[in-house]
């Protein structure tokens, strides 16, 4: 049977979690905002190299403005976490480091990838100083709209999880 891993996508409301998954799985994007209620599950088989693939079972959780409010039960047995913030909305990253600390506590010993999304909405130069000023170290800067770095981010996580087994 196919090797499979559970990953969860976390982050505040409207940062683009569902859009990132949509872009990755279906290579499409919609401007309409459909609030995720509860959990949505999608699957994508990712080729990690020429002769190895892994299936990612992606749990798209409803957004919460309080990271602390995430249902712990949804995080059980997860193999990887993606934490998304919206580079165009400071309220989604002002407390990023303390948010990340909480996430790390909730999912100990689990790879965590930090993603700044919607980079199409900001000017590149301003973005760098914005991150620096807020003391943020993002692993990936993406746009679900243009598709920038979305595949790279998910494939990187898949490879990481594949190497861990």
């Amino acid at each position: 049977m196919q090797k499979s891993k559970k990953i969860v996508i976390l982050g505040h409301f409207g940062v683009g979690k569902t859009s990132l998954i949509q872009r990755f799985v279906k290579d499409s994007f919609s401007d309409k905002y459909k609030v995720t209620i509860g959990v949505h599950i999608t699957k994508k088989i990712v080729e990690v190299n020429e002769n190895d693939s892994i299936s990612l079972i992606i749990w798209d959780l409803e957004g919460t403005d309080e990271v602390q409010m995430i249902r712990q039960a949804y995080l059980l047995g997860t193999h990887g976490v993606v934490f998304v913030f919206d580079v165009s909305r400071p309220s989604t990253f002002q407390n990023l480091n303390s948010d990340l600390k909480i996430v790390a506590e909730k999912t100990p010993d689990t790879p965590l990838i930090i993603v700044g999304n919607k980079i199409d909405l900001v000017i590149q130069d301003e973005l760098q100083s914005l991150l620096k000023d807020n003391n943020i170290e993002a692993n990936y800067l993406t746009s679900a709209k243009t598709g920038d770095a979305v595949n790279e981010m998910f494939t990187h996580l898949a490879t990481l999880l594949n190497d861990l087994t």
């Binding site: 049977m1 196919q2 499979s4 891993k5 559970k6 509860g38 959990v39 599950i41 999608t42 699957k43 299936s55 079972i57 749990w59 249902r71 039960a73 949804y74 059980l76 047995g77 997860t78 193999h79 010993d109």
Partner: protein, 283 residues
């Protein structure tokens, strides 16, 4: 000197040395004999003592070694609580279930006895008005339920470990993820830690869920799902888990963050077992 004396003298001269040797040997034999005898004497005195000590020792094991053994066992059980529960749960579950089922059977038989004449009349009336035969009506009561699909799913992660299906279905990995999300949500929302979601009704199907410590089994059933069938399904699940899964605790270990990975039984084998247990089961 007569003939005889002379012979003796001659003997003396010729055999002195031999004589001495023979004496020495005789002495030795005597010594050995003594040693042997005293040893036998010794043994006959010592053996009972050793035997008695051995007997005492054996009898004292429960007091001397016993606590150590018990403590070790206790520690082992404490360190592997989940595994122990997983091993015991099917047995206990079946016992409790059997007991409750028996009680209910007795109760319903009592009720049946009281009601049987009414239902007999009802059937008669129905056949009278509907024109169908009594026997056919009785057959109506037997549901056409069938096991369509079985999935062994890791709790929490919702990852599919193995599955068996009679017909091609939509992506089972997705189904097992969704089932787990629904189960998690329901159990979490009602915040009843000890309450587990048992049944999901979905269109024409009933999905029977039985949780164990690290895994849960989901059985998809088509047709009307009667209590009797539910009872059967539960039994099959418990049998499968009891006979197969708990013998393979290494399967459980893999879900943990173990320092060294353990060889797991292959999904293929579990798949085969699922087919064996659920494939031809009459419910």
């Amino acid at each position: 000197m007569n003939e005889k004396d002379r012979l003796e003298i001659l003997k003396d001269i010729l055999f002195t040395e031999d004589r001495e040797d023979i004496d020495k040997i005789a002495n030795r034999i005597e010594l050995l004999e003594q040693a042997y005898n005293s040893r036998e004497k010794f043994a006959s005195r010592v053996d009972p003592i050793v035997e008695e000590q051995l007997d005492k020792f054996t009898k004292s094991i429960p007091h001397t070694l016993g606590p150590t053994i018990t403590a070790t066992l206790k520690k082992e059980i404490q360190n592997h609580k989940d595994e122990v529960v997983d091993a015991l749960y099917p047995v206990l579950g079946k016992m409790v279930k059997k007991y409750v089922a028996q009680e209910i059977k007795v109760l319903s038989e009592k009720i049946d006895n009281q009601l049987s004449f009414i239902s007999a009349w009802k059937r008669k009336l129905r056949s009278f008005f509907g024109g169908s035969k009594e026997k056919e009506l009785l057959l109506d009561d037997i549901g056409g339920e069938k096991i369509e699909q079985v999935m062994l799913i890791e709790r929490g992660s919702g990852l599919l470990k193995a599955s068996f299906s009679k017909t091609e279905t939509i992506d089972e990995e997705m189904i097992s993820g969704m089932l787990t999300a629904i189960k998690t949500f329901v159990e979490d929302a009602f915040n009843q830690k000890n309450q587990e979601l048992e049944l999901i009704e979905y269109e024409l199907y009933n999905i029977h869920i039985q949780s164990f410590v690290n895994y849960y089994v989901a059985v998809v059933i088509s047709g009307a799902y009667s209590l009797k069938a539910k009872d059967k399904v539960q039994d099959i699940i418990f049998d499968f888990y009891h006979n197969f899964m708990e013998m393979n605790l290494d399967l459980i270990y893999t879900s943990r963050h173990l320092e060294q990975p353990v060889d797991t039984i292959s999904s293929k084998l579990i798949q085969k077992k699922l087919a064996e247990y659920f494939g031809n089961a009459k419910i």
